[in-house]
Amino acid sequence: MFKKILIANRGEIAVRVIRTCREMGIRTVAVYSDVDRKALHVQMADEAYRAGPAAATESYLCIERILEIAKTADAAAIHPGYGFLSENADFAAACAEAQVKFIGPGARAIRRMGSKTAAREAMRAAGVPIVPGTASAVSGLDEALAVASDVGYPVMLKAQAGGGGKGMRLVASGEALPSALKQAKAEARQAFGDEAVYIEKAIVRPRHVEVQILADEHGNVIHLGERECSLQRRHQKVIEETPSPLVEANPAVRTVLCEAAVKAAPACGYTNAGTVEFLMTADCNFYFLEMNARLQVEHPVTELVTGIDLVREQILIAAGEKLRYAQEDIDPRGHAMECRIYAEDPDTGFMPAPGRITALREPAGPGIRLDSGAYEGWQVPLEYDPMIAKLAAWAATRGEAIAKLRSAVEEYRIGGIRTTLGFFREVLNDRAFVSGDIDTGFIARWMAARPDKFEKELRPAAAAAILAAMTANRRDSEKPSEANMTASSHWKTEGRRKALRAPAAST
């Protein structure tokens, strides 16, 4: 087994990987950029090395620097987390060359899966259904317009090197295509260093259903069931769950779906943990979307129902061990659901809201799992992804899991910055959501129709809030103004409640 593992990541996922390493008796090496010296993942590691300046390209994305640290620290393996270098084939190749084990699939499999177009081809060959669209990146606007009118609008623009919604755009008509293409390319270039974008027909009201697989280096592949991640905003998942309510209602589909996912792995020489993503229609037709050659953000819900620690299995697989489970050993229990807590302001169209966390009360108790990179006093940096924590709940049924998650969201208090907690409080109470009637357009529609909640039943709560505010105001008027006052001083001007896509204009 590895004696020491370097975690080439930051935030909650670095913390999460460190936890499993520690439980396995493996020493951990953290890396940090200049703005992350005080980050939680550094405080939890046995060793910590400065990777470089704040800019990710000069720190967390800098292959030479990461490998240099691995060498200095004598790390036997590198866990890349998700994002950053996790699906970078060059990095996997460089690790192999430096004789540091990359905990993930080989460079070749990453390359094939990383190119969404090559992945589509491989899947088509393996007999997995795919969405109609271009076989490779479009050369320019003219080709894009031609393809789009060929498969028919709406179409989806996607970064060839992409993932996580970066460089993705839904385009409803030809007029919107030029600007969308430009933006998608710019985002793709910035996120992946590759501006290639391809086109797919947009499936109407699709659900996002994905299958977790584990593949060892001896040819064994199993799946750990599906997850549904239909609640997305700007193509970013925000709520994920397992089992999928749609699949759960149509259990015959599960067999076909999961078998397709298990077929996908050998089709590209895949090893380690991976996720095969599908779009699924209301009548349970599904199409290959992409394969994520890494640990997913939403892996905790699978861990909660299967009882399997995916990071532990990743490490064991990377160490050359055979899978410890056969397919029939996998016996999911109950229902798990996760929300991603972002440092974003839902009342200003989810604008990023970095800043200092001045107060923190974290939810806990039966069935609650929190994966967080935050602590009281921590300054959420401006430079990276705004996700600061993942809150998950497990219960016997979906209804109980929702109730539990709702209650935990209510308990969760993050002071000093704006977060998406209030948004989840509302969505988790939504009748359609609770009934499982969801698709990837759910949140956009919900935001547009978002109810104004200043209702009678809240009157006593408003009175309590007023009384607390008056008490606080008496105190505050005796104190000088604080740093975080500035950060929040624009509320007043934003109008109340009705959140537009980008309503940062004020009168």
Partner: protein
């Protein structure tokens, strides 16, 4: 003494004495208010308990969360109130402000340009997301206060539309 409080855009008169006896918009009783942490309060009245989370916005403005509701509360300083009222009716121009700290990536308008509601005006990047700020009124660009590449603080005025 009565204090004027603006909640959800509506002015209300609040009375509260040293013993916690209060009167707000028809609701009244004895309230017990204790601080239980930075911005955290527990308020009990008529047996009901409200855990209130307050965020201070400056100038007597607070954002409060209680019982799943979120409220914006302004406690009006009588002196300020005079200024507020004197200032009414002056407006009509629009200032697009930075909603978060970030970097200006692109400015899509120049001084003197005409814009319509929904037109993209400026793109600000933070936390790896490019956010296009849009015009919320029709008019003419009166001022552009920043350049591409500038770092901006939250609330800083970027573009003014007349």
């Amino acid at each position: 003494m009565k204090t004027t409080v603006i909640v959800g855009g509506e002015q209300q008169q609040v009375e509260i004495d040293a013993n916690g006896r209060f009167q707000i918009d028809g609701l009244g009783g004895n309230a017990e208010i204790v601080a239980v942490g930075e911005g955290m309060y527990s308020v009990i009245f008529k047996g009901a308990q409200y855990a209130v989370h307050l965020e201070r916005g400056g100038n007597g403005v607070y954002r409060a969360e209680a019982r799943g509701g979120s409220f914006e509360i302004e406690i009006v300083d009588p002196r300020r109130l005079v200024r507020r009222e004197a200032g009414l009716g002056v407006a009509g121009s629009q200032t697009i402000t930075a909603p978060m700290p970030g970097k200006v990536v692109e400015i899509k308008v120049a001084r003197g340009d005409s814009v319509r509601v929904g037109d993209g005006v400026i793109v600000v990047e933070a936390m790896k997301m490019q956010n296009e700020l849009k015009a919320a009124k029709e008019g003419t660009v009166a001022a552009v206060n920043v350049s591409a590449g500038d770092s901006v603080a939250p609330g800083s005025a970027l573009v003014v539309i007349d």
